[in-house]
C-alpha cells in the first residue's frame, strides 16, 4: 500500500489537468497562436507556486516524508540537448496537442485514439535510447 499516496496524488493531478483544460488539443493550439492567456496563466501561476514552495523547503531545511532534508538536483549544464530536444518536443506537442501527462490522462478518460500517441511516444523514447550515445548533448 506504499504506492497508495502516489495513486491519490495522480488522481488529483488527472482531475486538475482535465478541469484546467490543459489536456485539450484546442488549448495548446490557441496557446501557440497567442490567442488566449489561459495556458500562459496556468504555467505562470504553477511556476510561482512552485518557486515559493521550493524556497520555503530549502530555507527551512524541511524534511520529506522519508525524513531526508529536501534537496533538488540541479539539471546538467548544456545547451544543445535542451534546445534540440526541446524543439523536437515542441513540434510534437503542437501536433498531437498532448504532452506526456495529458496523453495518459486522456487515454484513461476514454479517448482511445490517444493510444496511438502513447505508442508513438514509447517508440520515440526507445529510439532515443538507441541513439543516445551518437547524439550531441
Amino acid at each position: 500500500m506504499k504506492y497508495f499516496k502516489f495513486l491519490l496524488t495522480g488522481i488529483f493531478f488527472g482531475i486538475v489537468l482535465t478541469k484546467s483544460e490543459a489536456v485539450s488539443w484546442y488549448r495548446i493550439y490557441e496557446m501557440f497562436h497567442f490567442q488566449s492567456f489561459h495556458m500562459y496563466g496556468i504555467i505562470t501561476v504553477a511556476i510561482i507556486t512552485g518557486l515559493i514552495g521550493i524556497q520555503f523547503f530549502k530555507r527551512r531545511k524541511v524534511r520529506d516524508t522519508d525524513g531526508n532534508i529536501i534537496e533538488i538536483q540541479d539539471k546538467d549544464k548544456g545547451i544543445t540537448r535542451y534546445l534540440a530536444g526541446g524543439m523536437l518536443f515542441g513540434l510534437g506537442w503542437a501536433l498531437a496537442g498532448a504532452c506526456p501527462g495529458p496523453m495518459f490522462i486522456l487515454f484513461g478518460a476514454g479517448f482511445w485514439s490517444m493510444g496511438m500517441v502513447i505508442t508513438g511516444a514509447l517508440a520515440g523514447t526507445f529510439v532515443y535510447g538507441l541513439l543516445k550515445d551518437k547524439l550531441p548533448h
Partner: protein, 185 residues
C-alpha cells in the same frame, strides 16, 4: 458545489498544479511525467537493446502509480465532474481552425478531425498521431524532461537548462502550429 462541474479558471489550476509538484517533492520524489515513458520501455524489455533502459525501474514504480492515478482522474473528471460546457476558445481560433476543416470544440476536449476514430485510423491520421507522439517521446528524453519536468519543476527551481528547453518547446511548437499544421490540413 457548482464550481466542481465547471472548468477551473487558470489561477486555480496553476496553484493546484504547483501544489502537485510540491507534494511529490515533499514525499521525497519529483514531478516528471515523461520519465514514465522510459520506465515503460524498460518494463517492456528495451534493456536488451540499449543500456539506457538498463536501470532499476522498480524504483520508479511510484511514478507509474502517479500515471495510473492520473488516468483514473481523467476518467472521473470526464464522466462525473463535467457539465459539458467545454473549451471556451477564442472565436478567432475557432474561425482559423474552421479554415483548416478542424471542427470546433462544442463541449469536447479534442477535435474529431484528429482524434475521431474514423480519422485516427486513416493512414494520414495514424501518421499524425504516431508521429506527434514520437516527437514528444524522443524530444522529451533528448531534452531530459517535458512540461512537468522542465517548464514547471525546472523553472520554479531556477534552472537555466529548463529555460533553454522551454524556449526550444516554443520554437518547435510555433513552427508546427503556424507553418507545418496548415500544410497538413
Amino acid at each position: 458545489m457548482d464550481f466542481i462541474f465547471k472548468p477551473f479558471p487558470w489561477y486555480v489550476s496553476g496553484v493546484l498544479i504547483g501544489a502537485v509538484m510540491l507534494l511529490l517533492i515533499y514525499m521525497g520524489r519529483n514531478f516528471g511525467m515523461s520519465s514514465n515513458l522510459r520506465t515503460m520501455c524498460a518494463v517492456l524489455g528495451s534493456g536488451k537493446f540499449a543500456g539506457f533502459f538498463r536501470f532499476d525501474w522498480k524504483a520508479q514504480r511510484w511514478n507509474l502509480a502517479v500515471v495510473l492515478g492520473a488516468m483514473i482522474g481523467g476518467f472521473i473528471t470526464v464522466h462525473f465532474l463535467s457539465d459539458g460546457s467545454g473549451v471556451d476558445l477564442n472565436p478567432d481560433t475557432v474561425a482559423q481552425l474552421a479554415r483548416m476543416n478542424i471542427d470546433a470544440p462544442q463541449g469536447r476536449l479534442l477535435p474529431d478531425a484528429l482524434f475521431g476514430m474514423e480519422q485516427a485510423l486513416t493512414p494520414k491520421g495514424l501518421l499524425i498521431l504516431l508521429g506527434g507522439g514520437f516527437l514528444v517521446g524522443f524530444g522529451a528524453r533528448y531534452a531530459g524532461g517535458c512540461t512537468s519536468g522542465h517548464a514547471i519543476s525546472g523553472i520554479s527551481n531556477l534552472q537555466l537548462p529548463s529555460v533553454i528547453a522551454v524556449i526550444g518547446f516554443f520554437i518547435g511548437g510555433l513552427l508546427m502550429s503556424h507553418l507545418i499544421l496548415p500544410l497538413i490540413f
